[in-house]
Each structure stands twice: as structure tokens, then as C-alpha cells.
């Protein structure tokens, strides 16, 4: 049942130049990337390094200026080829505006699989693109984790050497950070926010497409580090170790710069969309709670990512222009990197988890058949988390020696975070209170989220308190803590949301009975892994160490065996997903969870511009007591604002 928008006459057969360019975008993009890399590499290593004689010690693989300029121009070439500059340059040169047909084509009209492989301004296509990309990142990053745990079966180096081990640690962590910053806001934020707020597209659709198409170059550039010797700094990239590193460090820096750009631009687009494009009758106080979580997250991304971009640019300058921002002997300070990095890094972890809060609270009323309990206080909780997240970053530096007199403040502000996160639990408990809960598979993932995130939160208390942090800092306790929040929290919410939203996004569903076994496997192995690692950390094992004290081996082995089983269970999820949705194509019901959400009332597949007439919002979509729809989908007077 293909629903085609009826507002436009069928397309003419003769495509314009703009459309042709768009059609071949991915190929042109790849050509652009190659040309860009060669040109940048030649310019960087030839003209800058060697011609002026300042080239330091170029290795057989090149020099930092060559690699960095190559990466930058390759990303630029890729995006140019994809067609991101067509519109601005066309406008600059005064070329005729793209026709309505060009724009419709850009939006994905005509359908087909091809639109997923080119620059598309349809937020639903972009959501699906994000989904595939983050699953790919999750898979590759997960493989890295399996290698790490295999290596840690023995207390001395076994399958890896020190350099490849640290590169694996760096790749796993950085790739997972890339994945986690977009895991929920990318697929579900892009796909559902415009539908939930009742509009036809984003405020900046081209910018939205750009935020996605920055991910493939970022991921590939990061992975290319294996050809350049890898990097030994982990995802935190501390200087001056970063200044010591070989060329592989440049991959980390450029990859992170592109991801930072993507996070920031995505934030700006979402903020503009949510603040300006809501359906008539939808004040901020009537927005679905998931949209609120996206709004909070977007502010975090837009405000925090500039600090990251500044930091990696400074490090790039250090490695090329001899700017010694972080080298004490040159008048710099390693603390500068730590502060810039964590000023981004702490809001970043809430960029991971606040959308998960939103999703959980969005799904709970559906499965409890009750209104969301305490909507306003829930929104307040997420806003509170967002505000606090900017004033806690020094807790990553409690042992650094920095500003001891400020430690009590940062201890206080960090502990304060448990108040707004506690509110999320209160809202959830209130919603579950005397409910007719349906124990469906997404609901299982929601419970797991509460359980895991509770452990994540309580381990966080020990790290926020300075005296106990002195013992636990930089140990596996920290590692287990953030895996409990990011993997146990965000990734479990992501898996639940995939099961929940897949019927709407693809019109297909997974075998939710089979998924129950997968759920218990992944839940048990996850907890087995990270409870072992909490114990390892309390007993004094530092993170990122390839060798450890012999007395820690039993616990490490337990973690490793659980982790390998966890990897299999995660792969099983991916396997079921691919088997059921791509191969078997099990058809889903139109609204399998009987949700009142606006996103479930539009047809599947969602029409090109979502709504023929913009809906008029009546209420929050949680009125399960009366079953009252959230919006008027066929208002007598067409709403004023257009696409």
C-alpha cells in the first residue's frame, strides 16, 4: 500500500542537471573523496612540509599536514560530490533556482531504494540511514570489545601486542562514542520528531542530510587509523600523549571533528524545528515527552560540541603548526585539553542518555495503558539533567591535582544529578502504578533499562564523592559504571525502541517471541560481564591496561566469558533483525501496540510529506483512560503553514 502524496502532479521525464547530479551523488561523492584526499595529501605533505623545509620527520606514510589536509579535503570532496554545495553555489552564481521537481526529487519522491543512497532531505529516509549506520558502528565497535575481552583472558599480552591492543581500545571506545551520540536521536529523533510535532519536514532539511552524511566519512577516517599505525590515547585523546603519537592520531582527531560538527549541526536543526514547526495547537507544554528529550539533547549538542571542535583543532595545530597548546615545555598545559575535552565530554554522556529517558517515558504509557504520570515534572527532570551536565565536568579531574578548593562544589553538583534522574524513576513508577501492564518485548527492554541504569546511577554516586573516587577513579569501576549507563541504559533503550518502532519505520516486524530469549540472554550476559568488572575495579585494576595483577584473573575471565556470550547475544539481535525484516519481510500490523501517538496514526509507509493536512493538536498523546486521539487529523480548515 504505497501512499503517494496527492498534492503534486507526476514528474516530467526529462531530469534537470541538478537532479542528475543528485542521482549520482554517492558515486560523485566517492570520486570527490579520492580526489580530495590525493589533492590534500599532496598539498599538505608536498607543498607545506617539504617545499618550505619545515617538514620535521615525515615517515614513509607521510606527514601530519599531509594526512590531516588529505582527510579534510577528502571529507569536503565527498560532501561536494554528494551535492551539498549545489544549492549554495547555485544561488551564489545566480543559476536558476532548483525547480519544484528538483526539490521533490531531493526529498525522495519517486521512492525506491536509491533514495537511501543519496543526499535526501526527507527526514524519514535520513532516520533510516542513521539506523543502518549506527548498527554498523555498533557491530564494528562490538567486535573491538570482543577482541579486548579475549586479550584480557590472560594477565599478560597474549593475542594482541601492546600497540594493537591500545588501538583496539581506542577504536572500540571512539566508534562507540560516535554511535552512542547518534544512536537514538539519529534514527528516532530524525524519523519521528517531525511527525510527532505534526509537520512535514525539518527546519533545515539539507543541514539534516549533512549531519548524517558526515558520519560515513568520520567512521571511515577513524577506522583508517589502522593503516597509519593506530593511536594509543583511547577516546579521551589526552595530550601530550597525543602529540607523541604517530600518524594514526590524525584519524582520531579528524574523525572526532566531523562527529562534533554533526552533533552540533543536528542540535541546531532540531532546536529550530521543534521551536518553530510545531502543529497548530501544540504549545511546548503539549509536546510528546520524547520531543522534549530531543530538545534538551539538542541544546547540549549545540552548546558542547564547539568545545570539542576547538580542542581537536588545537591538537591538529599542535601536530602541524607546532602550536604547543598542550605541551608544558612550550608554554602550554595538558590541563587545557582535559578541561576542553571534558567540558564537551560530560554533556556528551547526557546526549547519550537523555533521549533514552524520553523514549522510555514515551513508550511506558503505551504498555501500561495509562496516561504518563507527572509529565511536567518529567520534563523538568530532563531539563535539570541538561543544565547540571554543564557544571560537573571537573569530576573527571578529581585526581588531576587541579583546583582542589573547587572539588567540593563539583562533588555537590555531580551528586545533584541524582535528583533529576530520580525524577525519571518517579515518573516511570507513577506511570506503572496500578496499570494494566502488557509485558511485551519492548517492555522487557524498558525494565532492563531501569535495572541497568539504576546500577549505573548508584555506581556513579561512589565516583562523585571525592574520597571514594580517589580509590575508584580510572579503574574498571569507572568503566563498568559508564557501560551500565551507556550500554545498559542507552543501548537497551535503543533495542527496545527498534522492536517498538520498526513496524512503523519499515512496515515489518520481528518475531517478538524469539526476541524474548534474545532479551534474557543479552540481559544476563550484560550484567554478568559488568558486575565482574565492577568487582575488578574495586579490587584495583586500572583501565586500558593490557597486563594486570595475577590475582585479578578469575574475575577478568568471568567478565570475558560473559562478554563473549554478550557479543553473541547482540549479534543474535542483529541476526533476527536482518532475517525477519530484510529477508523474511514479516509484515507488521498498522499499529501493533495500539498507541495513541501521532506517529502511529499516519499510514505505513509514512507518506512523503507525512500529512496531507497538518493536524491540529488536541492534547498529549497519552490519554489511554479515555482513548481520546491526540490530534485532529482532518481539520476542516487546512492549517496555514506549509511544508
Amino acid at each position: 500500500m504505497d501512499v503517494v502524496s496527492t498534492t503534486r502532479p507526476p514528474m516530467s521525464t526529462a531530469p534537470t542537471l541538478a537532479r542528475r547530479l543528485n542521482e549520482w551523488g554517492l558515486l560523485l561523492g566517492l570520486i570527490g573523496a579520492v580526489i580530495g584526499f590525493i589533492a590534500g595529501y599532496a598539498l599538505g605533505s608536498g607543498a607545506i612540509s617539504n617545499f618550505y623545509g619545515g617538514g620535521g620527520e615525515p615517515t614513509s606514510l607521510g606527514s601530519d599536514p599531509g594526512i590531516l589536509l588529505g582527510y579534510a579535503m577528502s571529507a569536503l570532496g565527498f560532501l561536494t560530490g554528494m551535492g551539498f554545495l549545489n544549492y549554495p553555489i547555485g544561488r551564489l552564481l545566480g543559476v536558476k533556482r532548483p525547480t519544484e521537481e528538483d526539490n521533490a526529487y531531493l526529498h525522495g519522491e519517486g521512492g525506491g531504494l536509491g533514495r537511501y543512497f543519496r543526499m535526501t532531505t526527507d527526514h524519514k529516509v535520513i532516520g533510516m540511514q542513521y539506523m543502518v549506520m549506527i548498527l554498523a558502528f555498533l557491530f564494528i565497535g562490538g567486535l573491538g570489545a570482543m577482541f579486548i575481552r579475549t586479550e584480557l583472558l590472560t594477565p599478560v599480552p597474549s593475542v594482541a601486542n601492546a600497540q594493537s591492543y591500545l588501538t583496539l581500545v581506542g577504536l572500540h571506545s571512539t566508534l562507540m562514542i560516535f554511535m552512542a551520540s547518534a544512536a537514538i536521536i539519529g534514527p528516532f529523533g530524525n524519523y519521528f520528531v517531525p511527525i510527532m510535532i505534526g509537520t512535514r519536514n525539518m527546519a533545515f532539511p539539507r543541514l539534516e542530510a549533512l549531519t548524517f552524511w558526515l558520519l560515513p566519512p568520520a567512521g571511515l577516517i577513524l577506522l583508517s587509523t589502522v593503516f597509519l599505525g593506530g593511536f594509543t590515547t583511547g577516546w579521551t585523546g589526552y595530550a601530550p600523549l597525543a602529540d607523541q603519537n604517530v600518524l594514526g592520531m590524525d584519524s582520531y582527531l579528524m574523525g572526532f571533528a566531523l562527529i562534533g560538527l554533526s552533533i552540533g549541526l543536528s542540535g541546531l536543526n532540531m532546536i529550530a524545528t521543534i521551536l518553530t514547526k510545531r502543529a497548530p495547537g501544540m504549545p511546548l507544554s503539549r509536546m510528546p515527552i520524547f520531543v522534549w528529550s530531543v530538545l534538551v539533547t539538542s541544546f547540549l549538542g549545540a552548546l558542547a560540541s564547539p568545545a570539542l571542535i576547538a580542542a581537536v583543532l588545537m591538537e591538529m595545530f599542535s601536530r602541524t603548526y607546532q602550536a604547543t597548546f598542550f605541551i608544558p615545555a612550550g608554554g602550554g598545559s595538558p590541563y587545557l585539553w582535559e578541561n576542553l575535552f571534558w567540558f564537551f565530554g560530560h554533556p556528551e554522556v547526557y546526549i547519550f542518555v537523555v533521549p533514552a529517558f524520553g523514549l522510555i517515558m514515551e513508550m511506558l504509557p503505551v504498555f501500561t495503558r495509562k496516561p504518563l504520570w507527572g509529565y511536567r515534572v518529567g520534563v523538568g527532570g530532563m531539563v535539570g539533567v541538561g543544565l547540571l551536565s554543564f557544571v560537573v565536568w571537573q569530576h573527571h579531574l578529581f585526581t588531576s591535582g587541579l583546583a582542589p578548593s573547587l572539588r567540593p562544589f563539583y562533588m555537590f553538583s555531580t551528586e545533584m544529578i541524582s535528583v533529576p534522574t530520580g525524577i525519571i524513576y518517579l515518573v516511570s513508577l507513577g506511570t506503572l502504578w496500578r496499570a494494566r501492564t502488557r509485558f511485551s518485548t519492548p517492555m522487557l527492554f524498558i525494565f532492563a533499562f531501569f535495572f541497568n541504569f539504576l546500577i549505573g546511577g548508584f555506581t556513579g554516586v561512589f565516583l562523585s564523592d571525592v574520597p571514594s573516587d580517589f580509590s575508584l577513579h580510572a579503574s574498571y569501576f569507572v568503566q563498568a559504571h559508564f557501560h551500565y549507563t551507556i550500554m545498559g541504559g542507552e543501548v537497551f533503550a535503543l533495542m527496545g525502541a527498534i522492536v517498538y518502532y520498526l513496524p512503523k519505520m519499515t512496515g515489518r516486524t520481528m518475531d517478538i517471541k524469539l526476541l524474548r530469549y534474545q532479551f534474557w540472554a543479552v540481559f544476563i550476559t550484560f550484567n554478568g560481564t559488568f558486575i565482574s568488572l565492577i568487582a575488578v575495579g574495586i579490587l584495583g585494576m586500572p583501565r586500558r591496561a593490557i597486563s594486570y595483577a595475577a590475582y585479578l584473573q578469575p574475575l577478568n575471565d568471568s567478565a570475558s566469558i560473559f562478554a563473549l556470550a554478550l557479543g553473541l547475544s547482540m549479534a543474535l539481535f542483529l541476526g533476527i533483525l536482518i532475517w525477519e525484516v530484510v529477508i523474511k519481510q514479516r509484515v507488521a500490523a498498522l499499529n501493533p501496540w495500539e498507541s495513541l501517538g501521532v506517529e502511529w496514526q499516519v499510514p505505513t509507509p509514512v507518506p512523503m510529506f507525512n500529512f496531507d493536512r497538518l493536524p491540529v493538536s488536541w492534547s498529549l498523546p497519552y490519554d489511554y483512560d479515555t482513548g481520546k486521539p491526540a490530534a485532529d487529523f482532518g481539520p476542516a480548515v487546512p492549517a496555514l503553514s506549509g511544508a
Binding site: G55, G56, D64, A162, T232, T233, G234, T236, P240, D243, Q244, Q322, P328, A329, T368, R369, K370, W373, Y375, T399, S400, G401, A403, P404, P408, M411, F412, E415, M416, S418, V419, G422, I423, G430, L432, W433, R434, A435, R436, F451, L454, F458, V461, F462, D465, V466, P467, S468, F470, S471, H473, A474, G540, P542, R543, I546, S547, Y624, D625, T626
Partner: protein, 283 residues
């Protein structure tokens, strides 16, 4: 409804038992990092207290989740809509937020007090003078920890600034660690003493602790510092009696004698040599 009341009581009792048994077990169990120094004892105490508070709350939230999910729910859905339309309750919300705030504030106050007692004068120091020889055990003995890729060396300024590869400390003597680095950021982690402090080039990070138990311990680097970070560990750090310490110092002074003139004069920070210098590209 009678069954529900009974089940509610069962959950409450189970929670109480779990909470009490857990807390009692925690109180009697060994809490890392242990009692080998005043600092470690204080950290263990903080960890224990946090755990004592956290465990009942943690199990309580789980019990509440279990209660709402399994016991306090309506019959399986028969109708399309639910009978209960609770949309919020200001009193419950206020009580919840107030309770969490009180817990958090008391934790923060306690942590601040513990910090003030444990760590006076901790953190980056800018003094260049080293401490005089301690006249009593309450006056600190200065010991410098120099981190570099990938080992630690130690200097004892009160004993002529001798440099050693092994860390040996006198028991029951207040030690003031001065931690610095020659190249990248490291962290000095003496787990048993509860000492963990970053070693930052050209910075002097100070931590004070009094070892109270004689023994042989492990020290290791806890900040990723490059290739052999995982092997930057040493199982031979020792806390010894005062007389053993004096003998060890004598022995080390004799060993160091011929090379003392090559050592840089004792200082709280040193300019490293194996860092990229200004004017030179990173490799």
C-alpha cells in the same frame, strides 16, 4: 484485595530483610582499598558509608519496581482503556524530590568534611622548597614520585635527594608525595595506601598519607600513558619499620654515591627531554 495486602507485606518484609542483611554484610566485609594507611581507611569508610546508604535505596527502588509491576497492577487488559487515570500527584512528587535532595545534600556535606580532613594541602603545589627532615612522625616526610614512560622513580630530598627505583616508606610516618612527570600524563596509584594522583609534566601534585601496615604492595600507573601503560606497574613497593627504613636509606645512599653528581638537583618539577619540543614537529 486481601491477597494484595498480604503480597504488599511480603514485598516490604523481603526488602527489609535484604536491606538489613546487605548492610550488615557490608559492615563486616572487607572494603577495599583497606586499612593500610589513614587515607585508605578514610576512603574505605566513605565507600562503606555510601554503600550502606546506597544498598537499601537501591534494593528499595527495585522492590518498588517489582511491587508496581507484579503486585500493584490491574487485571490483564480486557478493555481498550484503563480505569485509572492518574496524571500526577504534587505531594508524592514533592516528597520524592525533597527526599532525594536531602540524601544528596547530606552526602555532599559528608564528602566535603571527609575531604577537608583527608586532603589538606592536596593538589597542584607551586612551592619550590622541599620540606625539612621530619622531627616527629606527624611532620611529613617528603617523597617525590617521578613518572616517565614507562616506570616510576622516587627521590628522597631529606636524604640528599637520592633517587631509587623502588619505593620504600617508613611505617606510621606521615608521607607527603610529590608527584610529577617527565613526559606525558601518568597517574601514580598506590592502591593499598589509597593514593592516586595524576603525574602531569611541569606540575607538582601533592598527596599526603600515613602508611600504617608493614608489607609489600603494588604501585601502578592509572592514566593511559602510551604503549606500555599496562606494564607500568611494580609489585615491590614496601612499607617497612623505621629502623629498616633507615638501613635501606643508608644502603641506597651508598649505591647512589657515585652517580649523585649526574643527577639533576632536586626540584619539584623537571623539564622533560622526550617530549616534542617547541619548533619540532611531532613524529
Amino acid at each position: 484485595m486481601r491477597n494484595r495486602a498480604t503480597a504488599t507485606r511480603v514485598v516490604l518484609i523481603v526488602w527489609l530483610v535484604v536491606a538489613v542483611v546487605g548492610d550488615v554484610a557490608l559492615a563486616f566485609g572487607p572494603i577495599p582499598p583497606g586499612q593500610a594507611s589513614d587515607l585508605a581507611s578514610s576512603e574505605s569508610l566513605v565507600i562503606l558509608l555510601l554503600a550502606e546508604i546506597a544498598w537499601p535505596v537501591f534494593s528499595g527502588v527495585l522492590a518498588a519496581l517489582f511491587f508496581t509491576l507484579v503486585i500493584n497492577r490491574m487485571a490483564p487488559p480486557t478493555a481498550e482503556v484503563s480505569a485509572d487515570a492518574l496524571r500526577g500527584n504534587t505531594r508524592v512528587q514533592t516528597i520524592w524530590i525533597a527526599t532525594t535532595l536531602v540524601i544528596v545534600l547530606s552526602l555532599a556535606v559528608y564528602g566535603t568534611v571527609a575531604l577537608a580532613i583527608d586532603q589538606p594541602g592536596a593538589g597542584i603545589s607551586t612551592t619550590s622548597a622541599s620540606l625539612p627532615a621530619p622531627a616527629s612522625q606527624d611532620q611529613p616526610l617528603e617523597v617525590q614520585v617521578i613518572a616517565q614512560q614507562w616506570w616510576f622513580t622516587y627521590r628522597y630530598p631529606t636524604y640528599g635527594g637520592i633517587e631509587t627505583a623502588q619505593l620504600v616508606l617508613p611505617v606510621n610516618q606521615k608521607i607527603q608525595f610529590h608527584i610529577t612527570s617527565l613526559d606525558v600524563i601518568h597517574a601514580f596509584w598506590f592502591f593499598a595506601l589509597g593514593v592516586k594522583a595524576d603525574a602531569v609534566p611541569l606540575n607538582d601534585n601533592v598527596v599526603t598519607a600515613t602508611p600504617t601496615e608493614i608489607g609489600t604492595y603494588r604501585v601502578q600507573c592509572s592514566e593511559l600513558c602510551g604503549l606500555w601503560h599496562g606494564n607500568m606497574a611494580d609489585n615491590t613497593a614496601m612499607v617497612v619499620s623505621t629502623s629498616d627504613f633507615a638501613a635501606w636509606i643508608q644502603q641506597q645512599t651508598a649505591l647512589d654515591g657515585p652517580i649523585m653528581k649526574y643527577l639533576p638537583p632536586y626540584s619539584h618539577t623537571y623539564t622533560g627531554t622526550n617530549l616534542p619540543q617547541p619548533g619540532v614537529y611531532a613524529p
